[in-house]
Subunit: 70 residues, 6 copies
Amino acid sequence: MQFSARNRLQATVKAVKLGDVMAEVTVALPDGQELVAAITRTSAESLQLQPGDQVVAIIKSTEVMVGKEI
Amino acid sequence: MQFSARNRLQATVKAVKLGDVMAEVTVALPDGQELVAAITRTSAESLQLQPGDQVVAIIKSTEVMVGKEI
Amino acid sequence: MQFSARNRLQATVKAVKLGDVMAEVTVALPDGQELVAAITRTSAESLQLQPGDQVVAIIKSTEVMVGKEI
Amino acid sequence: MQFSARNRLQATVKAVKLGDVMAEVTVALPDGQELVAAITRTSAESLQLQPGDQVVAIIKSTEVMVGKEI
Amino acid sequence: MQFSARNRLQATVKAVKLGDVMAEVTVALPDGQELVAAITRTSAESLQLQPGDQVVAIIKSTEVMVGKEI
Amino acid sequence: MQFSARNRLQATVKAVKLGDVMAEVTVALPDGQELVAAITRTSAESLQLQPGDQVVAIIKSTEVMVGKEI
């Protein structure tokens, strides 16, 4: 299945924090920069996310902002 | 100014495509992976985004999804 | 690849409107209700979306609102 | 009040899970497909959402992605 | 119809810029601060948005970030 | 740092509700209208958000919808 979200970053799971409804998943990119995803707890559990897992961080392009020192 | 968006990725602008209302900005991360941002044309112009610019890709954590081979 | 977006609705493409940067894709659900997706033109072209295509409409749960007659 | 969100799907509430800050609301479309909404707990309570309620799932078109078997 | 989006700001339309797929709508709040909405052209046309219109800017709480001088 | 999010509203923090993963921050605009942000708990803590703080509510334009009485 190919889908329209343009951004798919290879990453490794560093930490998974499960809350009652939501979960916070921290992943590291190959260059060491980190990304945090706030997904539902149910999603985190159904993906059985564990530190060390190879995953893809997926982001729709309309959700990405750009900052620049002017 | 510090703000709540957890994800701030250092990147370099690769391409800027200006449309009538929106603009598509492609940036490269240090590890070579690319990110695409769909922002308004007005924003792209006010930031004077040019290929080669050092920028930060900013993403709220609730906008990041995770994929995993099961 | 399994991913965290909870909402994956089976649908059929009804129309594709290509703009300069963005594209508007209208799909119909089996029950006849319609969904509109605003994705980048590049995505619509790389998926070669055509009326009649069987697709999945994918929506992160944090993007879904609920309305109710009170 | 008419508003710009293009996607308004008639649905029936199946389950409501209240967390400390967020709530997860599962609804069923007429064709049996399910949608999950992550909204704030305060919203779920002020709408008095209960299983069996007739509701509308509202989604801005820029939040809808499309997937296709290629 | 009451719905879950927590943020509904009374505003006046200042400008409407119609693109091929998207439209940019600038509104002013009573305190003079401005908000810009990027919605689909079809939505802007179906709402017949005109400068001077009294409208409501609607924003899901998961889409609001916070910045603070530290 | 200048960034692409078009909407930056001056506001004062009214309340901060910390959950396990998420936090709900209510702010008041100068005209008295309120905005609610759902951000991660970690963000709320790192910004040390307290009632009375002067902050900026930041919203990407693609996340703003418009409603109008027709």
